[in-house]
Amino acid sequence: MKGTLIKTVLIGISLGLIWYTNSHLDIYNLSIVNNIGIFAILALSYNLINGVAGQFSLEPNGFVAIGAYMTAIFIIPMDTKIDMYALMDPAPVILQMQANFPIALLAGGLTSALMAFLLSVPVFRVRGDYLAIVTLGFGFIIRIFAMNSPAYTNGAMGLNDIPEFADFRWIGSITIFTFMVMIHVIYSKYGRAMKAIRDDEDAAVAMGVNTFKVKTYAFMTSAFFEGIGGGLLASFLSTIAPDQFTFLLTFYLLIIIVLGGLGSMTGTLVSAIVIGFGLEWLRFLDDNMNIFGYETGAHPGMRMVVFSILLIITMLFARRGLFGDRELSDILKSKRASKRKDA
């Protein structure tokens, strides 16, 4: 099949580029692309529940935290843990948790997915917009747990000396994998049902769609990859603390998916790259500038202000984000169709 061949070639090229980048890029730029990769994974997964299935949710920070802590606890060596837990001795189970990096990532993803399932049962059983409130509360609870369970999470001090396994080979290929999974879901009966629920839930039910099941699949898939992304983040940063997993993280991801287009995975990928590099390029705004001999002085946070303004302007001109709810392939397809009509 032609499509499969093209896809295989594209994946091959991307993996080649990833391996090349990982060994040839300087450390500064490598850290930028790694950051972008992780945020792309998180935003892609967030877009499934929020954009594709249309269920307004504020879950990422909670699930990212779960994935980050799970992975970190699994990969930090036992002796390091004994030295690190300062407020209280680590619980025996924490010491027993030891695994290699891929298993640790998987454990983080699966734990998040399981939590998502437990939340789904009460939330999706009833109609109404409870998901946003419940997930917001969930994020708070996870963070409070992380703060107040020194035997498990080392409390406010967080975990450090997390082995840095997460290089761009891991992050880049998992980004591609996440993207593929999302695309495969979207172009299946389950993805169509998710969009149908977003467009008109009553009509979806009238077509025989079990909306509880479909919403739960979407939510668990988002949670799974948010957990994986959290694990990569922990290993990439080598240190995590409860304060990294506030609502601000969710808000940042929300900006990425809204700019890219709710429901568009290609848009999310582009948006993560644009925002990732954009924030780096705007870094000069935080520093002291000399404008025609006038010293502006340093204004930390200035770039966020400018960034927000640019974002607002973009949204005014492209209200539905860069890609709307379509993928690049849909846009090309409709271009071809309209050309055929003109001819």
Binding site: V181, H184, V185, S188, K189, Y190, G191, R192, A193, K195, A196, R198, D199, D200, D202, A203, A204, V205, A206, M207, G208, V209, N210, T211, Y217, G263, D325, K333, S334, A337
Partner: protein
């Protein structure tokens, strides 16, 4: 032996203090086109919502085939073979015409979520099968050339057709149409009558329809039930309904225009 496919038995539906349906009974036979008519607010759409499981009646039973389905969840009612359209068109507005129809095949394509994620062989086989079947349905409705169009870009008449096609895609034995001709011009209405007759034959359907246009009802329906304030005031041939005094009073002479 009766060929009754749908029995409405002593249905009463109250919303707070309002009685929307009052002890209503009627029976639809296999292969019939059955009309449900009555003035605005008579309770016609409410009956549809009770049949499809969206509302739970205060009293009474709905029997489909030889099974009591009162209180069955709406998505399961569809799987038993009852499909519906809505009074105000409710297409999936961001999706293509073909994708709208494919949603109707949701329960007729058999592959798991994991098979979808990993694109295993069953995914390809099943998708190919339902796409071919969906195209066949579009062909039945003369909508083939619109397959890739966004559903809401179509004309009003065609959107109505897509909604009916989508319901037919669920493979029903009983089709409920809520005012299918509403808002259509005369030529669109005629086109619709032809199509309804055609799909009735080709898909072996029994049809229960709500309609205001008496000419349309007269042309289409074998039998009608007339509702007024939730009560049945007439039950019989459409030609007899038009001359029935109670019916005329309920409509306040609306029929003279029809």
């Amino acid at each position: 032996m009766s060929k009754g496919i749908l029995k409405i038995e002593n249905i009463t539906m109250q919303f707070g203090g309002v009685t929307a349906i009052d002890n209503l009974s009627f029976e639809v036979q296999k292969k019939e086109i059955y009309g449900l008519i009555g003035p605005n607010g008579a309770g016609k759409t409410t009956i549809f919502n009770i049949i499809t499981g969206n509302y739970h009646p205060t009293k009474g039973e709905i029997i489909f085939g030889d099974e009591t389905i009162t209180g069955t969840k709406p998505n399961l009612v569809v799987q038993k073979g009852i499909a519906r359209t809505f009074q105000n068109i409710r297409l999936f507005k961001s999706m293509s015409v073909l994708d709208n129809i494919l949603i109707g095949f949701h329960n007729q394509s058999h592959y798991s979520y994991l098979e979808a994620i990993f694109r295993l062989p069953r995914y390809f086989g099943q998708e190919k099968k339902i796409k071919a079947e969906a195209m066949a349905i579009l062909d039945e409705f003369d909508l083939t050339s619109f397959a890739d169009h966004k559903a809401t870009d179509l004309s009003y008449g065609n959107q109505r057709k897509v909604e009916i096609a989508r319901a037919v895609a669920t493979n029903p034995s009983l089709l409920l149409l809520d005012e299918p001709a509403a808002g259509m011009n005369p030529s669109e209405t005629e086109d619709l009558s032809t199509i309804i007759h055609k799909i009735k034959q080709d898909f072996d359907l029994t049809i229960l329809l709500i309609e205001h246009d008496m000419k349309f009802v007269n042309n289409m329906c074998d039998l009608v039930t007339v509702l007024d304030y939730g009560e049945k005031i007439f039950d019989g041939k459409p030609a007899d309904a038009i001359v029935n005094e109670k019916v005329i009073t309920a409509y306040l002479g609306d029929f003279t225009h029809a």
